[in-house]
Symmetry: C2
Subunit: 208 residues, 2 copies
């Protein structure tokens, strides 16, 4: 038994080592895509899983617009950084992940006990609302990619795009702001770059 298996054996309801490989250890950011569509059902399945992840006071501010059709792809293309265009046009689906600054309007459903006081506080302090929306949408973005990978998809997250342009083109008339993009599909095996380094535990963590 390796060291890694030894510590996994200590816990009583861990998921399998193969599943940890799929969602973390072997998962790679993809830039080359097979010509294989992603069904609407599968996109719905990602949301169906990731929506259970925790957010502050259950505000769940993340919004997902999946760019799939040729027409929608054509609207997105000019707003991408040059280095992201080819991979995005080839991907079967691209999620525009945004945060909704108007998340307070959903609170009566999501957090009925806190809705009234939170609504009043957010109206007085839009900077606080933005901070909350961004922080929880970040968490939800993490859940989103894990869920996609858990369902057998590959992810290609990207930050190189014209955020204001995307907001204007895709989120006009709403208070949704784009946060990052994520290509989704089935990657070309062996097309990935050598894996970049990560920091060690002692460089990042402390036990106090």
């Amino acid at each position: 038994m390796s060291t890694q298996e030894a510590y996994l054996a200590q816990v009583d309801h861990a998921i399998s080592d193969a599943a940890l490989d799929t969602i973390f250890r072997n998962a790679r950011t993809m830039r080359h895509w097979q010509d294989k569509p992603v069904s609407p059902t599968l996109l719905m399945a990602i949301y169906d899983l990731m929506r259970w992840g925790p957010t502050e006071t259950n505000i769940t501010p993340a919004r997902f617009h999946f760019v799939v059709s040729k027409e929608a792809k054509a609207r997105l293309e000019p707003l991408l950084d040059e280095s992201n265009r080819r991979q995005t046009m080839a991907a079967p689906a691209t999620a525009i992940v945004g945060y909704d600054l108007d998340f307070a309007s959903t609170l009566p459903k999501l957090a009925p006990r806190a809705a009234e006081s939170l609504h009043a506080m957010l109206a007085r302090d839009p900077e606080k609302a933005r901070y909350m929306a961004m922080r929880s949408t970040g968490l939800q973005g993490g859940y989103f990619m894990v869920a996609a990978r858990a369902l057998g998809l590959d992810c290609g997250p990207m930050s190189g795009f014209d955020r204001e342009g995307v907001d204007k083109e895709f989120f006009a008339g709403t208070q949704i702001k784009s946060y990052f993009l994520c290509n989704l599909g089935f990657g070309v095996p062996d097309s990935v770059r050598p894996r970049a380094a990560r920091l060690g535990f002692d460089e990042v963590c402390k036990i106090l």
Copy 2:
């Protein structure tokens, strides 16, 4: 076969349904903790998994200080909102999750090809550096909680604390800023509140 199982069957390397239950469907925010310690090895195992999750240009700005000892807990206690004190003092470990504004110093290791240009850009634009650090730390916070749950732990994320106070007490002399807290341990079964609602696919997502 239920509808849910039917779409899972479409994909060829999804993780098991039981694993999806553990990391998403059955996972709940815990506020009551068993008197059962969390080993340093298990804390290291969380990091060992979550560090592989993608971040912008591999900057991996999240930092994790695990508050475990009585002495460290006593430093944290007065900085917590009243409603979070009791549960945090009872939890075997509390992660202070922060983002390092000085992430540029790690770029020669993490992103050698981009290090020089990114370092110069960030030095000119500290607001951009903060935005990047917060966005990727949000993603990493999501990976962190999924990894903890995948290893059999329960999570109790919290945002109610004195951020400036925590920065002063725990991150003095660094450029790390606290983002959220997360209690870790083994929750008391049946102690959770009824599950809060989530928004439906059509309220949150669009397929374009």
